[in-house]
């Protein structure tokens, strides 16, 4: 009827009909559709982002009602939600080295979503280079027995000096430790860290722990180290560990066997130094020297010829033509080129770390109550993995991950010393060091330096005989200077590294501070000889190596 009157055109008639018929779910004014205008930063163009904050602004127009903004970063394959809310600006404080791209997502009240393009890459460099002054604290002995820590100290310093590091001299360090009454060398408090930086001009601290050392057959040695930047809040820049046994160095007919623990320790020091040298650039290049428009990952290879985008094509440890960033087994030429993927722990830990870059199979679709569908002796409960052989090894026997735990976000995490119910002295501290190492490698996580955690626990007199209570969690996460999202703790039931095959049994619990909820609980247990049928194929020779693989697998599942 209304359309039959001559005062309305057909188009306006249709519009009026739509409005009055209630077809539109939104009752407010209808404007232009949501559109992304720009994502801009206050940096001087893409290139180097080093220690300095960069302010990003997302601009959108149109849409319905108030808009929500989500800023995401991409480092390799790890995409992280950095900030979400009604703010159209975000201050990015890059904390980890890598090549990052950034983008924003805008959502309006009607649910329309628009994404910006990924920004040009930003190379985030470590805040220091090899010319920075580094203090090397005396080695923390976690072996539970006597060990040549003084000789190890000397060897470590010698190797670092040989690699071009500017080390704080022994007298100055001794003076400082005496003045500040520093006895514990597993980590420094915030106050001591600041004192070390201001009084001696030190920029970073190297903390080393001797995890295992045994002269008796088979000889073995294990070392863990981390480099901590002495900023306002000390932060972990690099962490790595090495575990060696004479049995695994034997090779063909036992010709390569290193039969003395001291030599193994020396080799471990060499490996750790090489890892640190690889991480820290010799000198930081000027921003202008980095990158070019057609070389997005700054490796000197143009985009069109890039074998492994976002990674340095020149780093190829096994020389198989496959850069380490895209090589499943970077220390195994056969696995890299042959593509059979049969790399073992002896192929280098990066073989497992780089799995994130490979296509991940989808989890099995199955009932959460299903038991052991893979028939691998693992009781499968939630978030089960596919039944492929690479996933079975080292993964937790049982695990729970809360559905409220969003793994796409960035978190800060505190690792508490694990409870130790095993017969091995310091097993709780060793396991917590493994978790610090592997969590720090995860692009989505920022791990609080254990020295600060220790200071915090002492300051608030927090004693946890049965793990952290919710009140403890509040105190640790919000009560002081730590301000973290997640509190990780655990219990070590077995840490067998003295005789026979190694055996590790531990449980891990992670509480989200904001919700005061257990978001992760798992139990991992493995014997070094498990799954070994032919000769020593697949055998874990050291408890350190076994614990490292189990920890890595736990975190991979946790953050999946």
């Amino acid at each position: 009827m209304i359309c039959s009157t001559s005062s309305f055109s057909r188009a306006s008639c249709l519009g009026a009909l739509l409005v009055f018929s209630g077809c539109a779910s939104w009752s407010g004014p209808v404007g232009a559709p949501l559109a992304f205008v720009s994502l801009t930063s206050d940096a001087q163009g893409p290139g180097v982002a080093r220690s300095a904050a960069i302010r990003w602004t997302a601009l959108a127009n149109g849409g319905v009602g108030a808009r929500r903004y989500e800023f995401r970063s991409l480092n390799g394959t790890a995409e992280v939600v950095e900030q979400e809310g009604t703010f159209a600006t975000w201050t990015w404080n890059p904390r980890k080295a890598g090549t990052f791209r950034l983008r924003a997502r805008v959502t309006d009240r009607a649910g329309a979503v628009v994404d910006s393009e990924w920004s040009a890459p930003y190379v985030v460099l470590p805040p220091i280079d090899r010319s920075a002054r580094v203090a090397v604290l005396p080695v923390d002995n976690l072996t539970g027995d006597r060990a040549p820590v003084r000789a190890l100290d000397g060897s470590l310093r010698e190797h670092l000096r040989g690699s071009g590091f500017d080390l704080l001299d022994d007298e100055s360090l001794d003076e400082f430790m005496k003045r500040h009454r520093v006895r514990n060398t597993s980590g420094l408090s915030q106050r001591a860290s600041r004192g070390l930086a201001t009084e001696t001009g030190t920029e970073a601290l190297l903390l080393t722990s001797l995890v295992a050392y045994a002269d008796r057959e088979p000889p073995r040695a294990a070392l863990a180290a981390r480099l901590v930047a002495l900023r306002e809040d000390p932060e972990i820049l690099w962490t790595d560990s090495v575990g060696l046994s004479a049995a695994e160095t034997a090779g063909l007919l036992g010709l390569g066997r290193v039969g003395e623990a001291e030599l193994l320790l020396e080799k471990a020091v060499q490996d750790l130094t090489a890892s640190l040298v690889e991480f820290l650039p010799e000198s930081l290049p000027a921003p202008a020297a980095l990158g070019a428009a057609n070389d997005a990952d700054f490796d000197g290879v143009e985009n069109s010829d890039d074998v492994c985008p976002d990674f340095d094509d020149n780093v190829d440890t096994d020389g198989d033509g496959q850069p380490d960033g895209c090589d499943r087994c970077p220390a195994d030429p056969a696995a890299g080129s042959g593509g059979e993927g049969a790399c073992s722990s002896s192929d280098g830990k990066n073989g497992w770390a780089n799995l994130a870059h490979q296509a991940q199979p989808e989890p099995c679709a199955r009932s959460p109550f299903d038991d052991d569908e893979c028939d691998d002796g693992v009781l499968c409960r939630t978030g089960d993995l596919p039944c492929d052989s690479s996933s079975e090894k080292y993964r937790p026997r049982t695990f729970y991950r809360s559905s409220s735990f969003d793994t796409s976000r960035r978190y800060s995490v505190v690792v508490l010393p694990f409870r130790n119910l095993s017969g091995r002295r310091n097993a709780g501290r060793i396991l917590s060091l493994h978790f610090v190492e592997h969590l720090a490698r995860n692009a989505k996580l920022t791990v609080v330096e254990p020295g600060l955690v220790r200071e915090h626990l002492l300051k608030y007199r927090i004693i946890m005989r049965a793990g952290p209570s919710l009140a403890n969690t509040d105190l640790i996460s919000r009560g002081g200077s730590l301000d973290v999202d997640l509190v990780l703790s655990g219990t070590v039931f077995d840490y067998q590294d003295a005789i026979g095959a190694p055996e590790i049994d531990f449980s891990v619990e992670m509480i989200q501070a904001r919700s005061r909820e257990v978001v992760w609980l798992s139990r991992s247990r493995r014997h070094g000889d498990e799954g070994v049928f032919f000769f020593d194929w697949g055998r874990a020779h050291t408890a350190h190596g076994l614990a490292s693989e189990m920890t890595a697998k736990t975190i991979e599942l946790m953050m999946r």
Binding site: G377, M464, A466, S469, L470, A471, F493, L521, R525
Partner: protein, 190 residues
Amino acid sequence: MGRENLCRGLASLSLLILLSGCAATDNYIEPNMDFASVESVAVLPFANLTGNEDAAERVRDTLMGMLLATEAVYVLPPGEVARGISRTGAIPADGPSAEQIKKLSGVLSVEAIITGVLREYGAVRSGSTSANMISLSLQMIEVSTGRVVWSASATKGGITLLDRLFGGGGEPMNAVTEEAVDDLLDQLFQ
């Protein structure tokens, strides 16, 4: 004659199988209990009747992990349970009193608590054969009423006929523990 021998043989075999297996369960479920109303539970430290000092804590950790993994109930972290116990006073070895349960519920804010008794844990030996074995009983107490709403026990492992015939030493202790806990959870969710 042949059939009689066959029957006798089958009967002997059945008897042997019955006697050699150690698996046994018993179960009580309060018929009027609405288990869907239980959203969170606290697992108290188990009474440990074995000679192994840490055994109860090992088994409790396994139970807590597997119970949480069912996603049917939320299990309070052990540190929080310890805080509740320290606030309400020590729990006697034979279990909490009704008053203690009420106090605990006030501190922990849970609908139910689980108590347990670990009766056997470790290797059992018969002649030259040995195998791992566990015997565990659990109770669930509704905190609002103080009633036991579920009780069950499980015994797993032990020396089987195959162990006697061929040796082998049975399954690892942790595997036996998981079997027992899994059996108990099956009884809880049946």
